[in-house]
């Protein structure tokens, strides 16, 4: 992949639509800056999930991250966010 070095991030529109789809009231809107900041927040969430799972796999001497590794780090991950 050529653009693997570039910073991978969620698109602003995706975040905006994603969050808007969960709002309970129709009149609630998401500000532009807030959407950008939420994209950053979600990126951190996914990165944390990936890095923690990877560390768990590493501590068990596995070279593939499997669902059991993710399951082990999930409770703490959810408590941190």
């Amino acid at each position: 992949m050529a653009e693997a070095d570039a910073d991978v991030c969620f698109k602003k529109d995706t975040v905006s639509k994603l969050l808007s789809s969960f709002f309970t009231e129709d009149k609630t809107k998401l500000g532009g800056d807030a959407a950008l900041l939420m994209a950053e927040m979600l990126q951190i969430f996914v990165k944390e999930a990936a890095v923690r799972s990877q560390k768990q796999a590493e501590s068990e001497d596995c070279d593939q991250v499997d669902i059991e590794h993710f399951e082990k780090i999930l409770p703490q991950l959810l408590m941190d966010f």
Partner: protein
């Protein structure tokens, strides 16, 4: 985007799945660790559901401040649980405002110089 809510949801999930996949790949490439497809799907599902919680919180924060638009302040409040995270989000938001100030100042000048650059390339 489609008006069918179910299809919209599928498309949003697909978009999240794509970014999660790339982020995992990027995380694993230094140590040559691979993430199984199941893990990527699970992280996607978790992120999607976490978004539900985030969105409801943001909405409540905005309503508490008697606003109908979610602002940067609400996002900062969302990141309150972890000190490191809230510092990071604080810095990012300052960066954003700084960038926008510069954009506003230079917007006319920058656009002109970009146009000139593109023209000279052609």
């Amino acid at each position: 985007m489609s008006s069918d809510p179910n299809e919209t949801r599928q498309r949003l999930k697909a978009a999240v799945h794509y970014t999660v996949g790339r982020l995992c790949q990027k995380t694993g490439q230094d140590l040559r660790v691979e993430f199984s497809r199941q893990v990527i799907a699970a992280i996607t599902e978790t992120t999607y559901r976490q978004c539900d919680i985030f969105a409801k919180d943001l909405e409540a924060f905005a309503r508490h401040a008697k606003r109908s638009t979610v602002s940067v302040e609400d996002v900062k409040l969302l990141a309150r649980r972890s000190k490191a995270l809230s510092n990071y989000i604080q810095n990012k938001s300052e960066e954003l405002t700084q960038e926008q100030k510069e954009l506003k100042k230079k917007s006319t000048g920058k656009r002109k110089s970009k146009d000139i650059e593109e023209e000279s390339r052609e």
